[in-house]
Symmetry: C2
Subunit: 232 residues, 2 copies
């Protein structure tokens, strides 16, 4: 993409923003709020264009995937993944290992205004299993709170601890267990643990079901985000 084309994109967006706003107010041509919005979209496009324009390829973290609107999962992000992570415009990171976060990663968070939620879950191997249900429950609340979105969940390899948390999230979404396990196994592959899957199966969602947050990730087809307040 050339610079001229990039400008064209911005102009088209600007035009569309105008059109979009026309739907809402017929009395005014361009409000200060509208102008501010256009500027914001233009600024964001510059970032987007810069990211895709460069010849450098992006390196997603190990086992990276999108879980749902505004929710991602992966293994431990290395500095080589930072440019990729910037394209996600993360608001927060959920880190599930007890080890302290590396200095380089903390710097990355700081310079990008990303909040870290650190839940130290030991990476037990079978048959010494002890996944703390309370910790998963607390982490799940962070996942469900749209004020934290976009959020990425990660542990070390994005298989077990991350797989358990995502599995519990799928239960809240009412996925049948076979589909939850299928997804778990897709990421854990040869390292899949029956104990993790049993944990997900036995995880009690009844205490969370009454919270409206269970709908937090349902969005309309029109792209409107239903921002539901998180009930503490």
């Amino acid at each position: 993409m050339q610079v001229a084309e990039a400008q064209q994109v911005q102009l088209q967006n600007q035009k569309q923003q105008h059109q979009h706003h026309h739907h809402h107010h017929h009395t005014q041509e361009t409000t200060p709020m509208c102008k501010k919005k256009i500027q914001q979209v233009q600024d964001e496009n510059k970032v987007a264009v810069a990211a895709v324009e460069g010849e450098d390829l992006l390196i997603p973290p190990l086992n990276f995937a999108m879980v749902d609107n505004g929710i991602f999962r992966s293994g431990f992000p290395e500095p080589s993944n930072f440019s990729f992570l910037q394209t996600l415009r993360l608001r927060s990171i959920i880190y599930l290992c007890p080890e302290p976060y590396p200095e380089a990663n903390l710097e990355f968070l700081k310079s990008n205004g990303i909040k870290l939620y650190h839940f130290g879950i030991e990476g037990h191997k079978e048959p010494f299993v002890n996944i703390p249900e309370d910790t998963i429950r607390e982490a799940l609340k962070v996942v469900l709170d749209v004020r934290n979105h976009p959020v990425i969940i990660h542990c070390k390899r994005g298989k077990h601890r991350t797989g358990c948390l995502v599995g519990c999230y799928r239960k809240l979404q009412k996925w049948c267990l076979s589909s939850v396990f299928d997804e778990y196994q897709r990421f854990a592959a040869a390292k899949a643990r029956v104990s993790d899957q049993r944990f997900v199966e036995l995880f009690d969602i009844s205490s969370m079901k009454h919270l409206p947050i269970s709908f937090s990730c349902l969005k309309s087809s029109k792209g409107i985000i239903l921002l539901l307040p998180f009930l503490e």
Copy 2:
């Protein structure tokens, strides 16, 4: 969730919709467009609440996953997957097999207002490989056009044809090839084909790079969708 709570959620959304609209027009309290929007969100909430309220579990199609904002992938959807698919509020389906779409699936599309894009790609097995680059390119344009979102891409098992299309999409997103192949293999597993991966590697994205559509899926962290027009 009880009915009383469901209503509360709707009220909260209604309130938030009002607040949202306040940003755009300060002169009017509630325009007809605003009222229409609130009604729309309320209706959508009813569907969402109904889906999550019921005791029935949802069954995602085989190999179901989220690719990006508004883009999903899967194997062939069976009638047992229809309730799940309704929660995605699909606008279109990209079907990559030459076989005609089953009557039950056509009915589902009709009653849910979903558009079908049918690209008949033969499911060749190695070493008789012939993935039509032009067809993948046309399908990719449908994927990139946000007017088709939310869209689900599917073939028979969601491994090869779907994997090739998603792989080409990742190239447009500038993912490094090792990550593209890692994702392909996660879905194809034991059925992974070197020929599919070679197709993705050799797929020429230079003719598509100049189109602004390559940014169509980049969304701001504020949830604003950058609706870029699709250039024919």
